[in-house]
């Protein structure tokens, strides 16, 4: 019994894993003794029996770009699903915002013959040779949000292009179809940057041709850098009417500046992703909106894909083409934000 209980959580240390194992055992024992069928106890006592088809242990890893709320939430979603399987050892690895570190990690896990790799590439081109190498080794690679330029098993993303079109529409509506907009953007070389920028431009063209994009500057996904970038932009163009932060961190950086300068009511600021801080900012009436994706769910979907492939014995070499999965999303504004449940907030 105790051997089959899943006690592996990617981000936690061995000691916590052991403790976690013990607490699950205690719960299972408690449930058995009292006959209670609580939610947690059900998972612990029925999980192993359900995982019976395969007792072979498999290792799966997630190589993140850098520590961030999005990748942390993905990892939680992944770990949640793997825990129930009982036969998957999951590990989170950090790319430290460096392509060369991610490449070295890819080499290591390919050599370790892991069953699947989840990858958020630091650069779409730089990681392509590693992705090819994994494919040659028969290991499915599932990219999250940032695609790699080499074909691989699957890419699961927050519907960047479609969402950005809707953001442009919502922003333009709030601006009355007139004015100047700036984009605070991700670094070049990541496909998500292109998809969101192109979607936003397309959305303006389609719905609000009267709005002009007067600047498009890089702030490396970072709140602090976005503050500096937006301050500079604002000094040169005091009449900026709208800001599109390509992620929430950068949009919130713009919110910080707008609040300090007392112009938060005059600038329509949109983010992207939908992290907890952004939703709270929308509720306070500061951030105008964002594209919300349930990132826990995105992690769970990715885990589902990989688990089915691995238990079904499907190698990367069996793919005729790269698979795609677009996540459902909500354009969260003051009007719609209440529809996002507490359990979906990350």
């Amino acid at each position: 019994m105790s051997k089959k209980i899943p006690a592996h959580e990617g981000t936690t240390g061995t000691r916590r894993q052991i403790l976690g194992g013990f607490s699950l055992m205690a719960l299972a024992a408690g449930a058995a003794a009292t006959g209670a069928v609580g939610g947690v106890a059900l998972t612990a006592s029925s999980g192993p029996a359900m995982a019976a088809p395969s007792t072979k242990r498999r290792k799966m890893v997630f190589i993140q770009h850098q520590p961030h709320t999005v990748s942390t939430a993905w990892s939680e979603g992944l770990a949640e699903v793997f825990k129930v399987q009982g036969n998957i050892d999951y590990q989170l690895l950090d790319g430290q915002n460096k392509a060369d570190v991610q490449i070295s990690l890819m080499d290591t896990v390919i050599n370790d013959k892991v069953a699947a790799i989840f990858l958020q590439p630091a650069d779409s081109v730089a990681l392509a040779p590693s992705v090819k190498k994994a494919a040659r080794a028969g290991i499915p690679v599932i990219t999250l949000n940032i695609d790699a330029t080499a074909p691989h098993a699957a890419h699961i993303e927050m519907s960047h292009y479609l969402g950005a079109i809707e953001i442009a529409k919502a922003m333009g509506d709030k601006m009355g179809g007139q004015g100047k907009v700036v984009i605070i953007n991700a670094p070049p070389g990541q496909t998500v940057r292109d998809a969101r920028t192109n979607g936003f431009m397309e959305g303006l063209k389609r719905h609000h041709p009267g709005i002009k994009v007067i600047a498009d500057q890089v702030a490396d996904w970072d709140r602090k850098k976005a503050q500096d970038v937006f301050s500079t932009l604002l000094a040169a163009n005091p009449d900026i009417g709208g800001v599109y932060g390509v992620n929430d961190s950068m949009a919130l950086g713009a919110v910080d500046v707008a609040k300090t300068k007392g112009i938060i009511d005059k600038v329509v600021i949109f983010g992207n992703d939908g992290e907890k801080d952004a939703l709270e900012s929308i509720e306070r009436g500061e951030l105008a909106g964002t594209q919300f994706t349930d990132v826990f769910q995105q992690g769970r979907f990715a885990a589902a894909v990989a688990t089915v492939l691995a238990t079904g014995g499907v190698p990367a070499t069996a793919f005729a083409e790269q698979g795609y999965l677009l996540m459902p999303y909500v354009i969260a504004t003051k009007e719609t934000v209440a529809s996002i449940q507490p359990s979906q907030r990350w």
């Binding site: 950090d94 392509a99 060369d100 050599n111 370790d112 081109v125 730089a126 070049p188």
Partner: protein, 328 residues
């Protein structure tokens, strides 16, 4: 005398071998030829940087700008190939010349303007990184950022002879040349003299400025080689290439027995130091140590090396005192 006493790096080699043995025992994936390939390709560029870094360190200086020089050389290579369409046989030497010049500028700032090496290279670290952004074709035309470099010559460092990557052969050549420079040439002897006591060296008629400029130029050149290895592996370059890598290079050199006080060390130790750090990182991943605990362990290894270095310094000082007491 002091120099030859440290040459064998005996203790470091023991630690290195024991570390490898422990990971071989703990992880089945570690004791594979695939893993050997990964260690060699993954850390040859760090070892090349560590060899280059040893020269400034031997002078009692430091070169913090190597990561930024890598980015500059890498981006120049990217621009030359992707934007200007130049062939590999022009791109490669061009990037190396640029990296060497960037190193030479460090040397001139230190030798001629009498800036502290730490300050001078801290300034150029920021300046070269800024320059990288300024010349980045990726920033000017983001749509070309997702185009890979395909020139067979530029991407050749990612190829293997058997299980040994070309990048490792490059490291061997760089190591052999620099070790020869240090071991048998007047320049090498001068370097140790300057590192030991710069005023004494000057009084002996050694051209200190020239030695400083050459040393930092070689460090820059090594950064250029490291950049080309990474560009070759990534088939592109990024503005953030090499951020923080100076710390790995300096750590590898110090673990390799190069004294921060200058004048003591060789370049064999730094090579082993770089691969020790690599083996530890890969090993920790394979045995499943959480990712955020790893830098802590790397830090502890560095602390251990510095502590051991202090111990040796004290032991040497005691030996000299004892000798003086014996022959008054």
């Amino acid at each position: 005398m002091i120099r030859t006493a440290r040459l064998p790096n005996r203790e470091l080699i023991i630690v290195f071998v024991v570390t490898i043995a422990v990971f071989c025992w703990l992880s089945g994936s570690f004791r594979t030829t695939g893993n050997l390939e990964n260690v060699l390709i993954g850390f040859s560029h760090t070892a090349i940087l560590a060899v280059g870094q040893s020269l400034p360190l031997l002078l009692g200086g430091i070169d913090l700008s190597v990561g930024s020089i890598m980015a500059l050389a890498g981006m120049a290579a990217f621009d030359a190939y992707i934007v200007l369409g130049l062939p590999g046989w022009i791109v490669l030497p061009g990037a190396l010349v640029l990296a060497t010049l960037a190193g030479a500028v460090n040397g001139v700032l230190i030798a001629k303007l009498k800036l502290q090496p730490f300050i001078a290279t801290l300034a150029t670290m920021a300046a070269y990184r800024g320059l990288t952004y300024a010349i980045s074709g990726r920033q000017i035309w983001p749509e070309i950022a997702t185009r890979p470099i395909t020139d067979p010559l530029i991407v050749a460092f990612d190829d293997y002879v058997g299980h040994v990557p070309y990048a490792f052969f490059l490291l061997l050549i760089v190591f052999a040349v620099v070790q020869l420079l240090l071991g048998v040439t007047k320049f090498g002897r001068d370097l140790y003299t300057i590192g030991g006591n710069v005023e004494a060296a000057r009084l002996c008629g050694i051209n200190v400025d020239r030695a400083v400029i050459i040393s930092y130029s070689i460090s820059g050149l090594c950064a250029g080689f490291a950049a080309l290895v990474l560009v070759s592996r990534m088939t592109t370059s990024t503005e953030s290439l090499g951020i923080g890598i100076e710390m790995s290079a300096i750590a590898a050199a110090i673990i390799g027995g190069v004294s921060l006080q200058g004048g003591i060390g060789n370049v064999f130790g730094p090579v082993i130091g770089a691969f020790l750090l690599g083996v530890v990182l890969i090993g920790l991943n394979l045995v499943g140590i959480p990712t955020y605990a790893q830098p802590v362990l790397t830090g502890l290894i560095l602390l251990g090396a510095v502590w051991y270095d202090r111990l040796l310094v004290q032991r040497r000082a005691r030996a000299i005192l004892a000798k003086q007491a014996a022959n008054p």
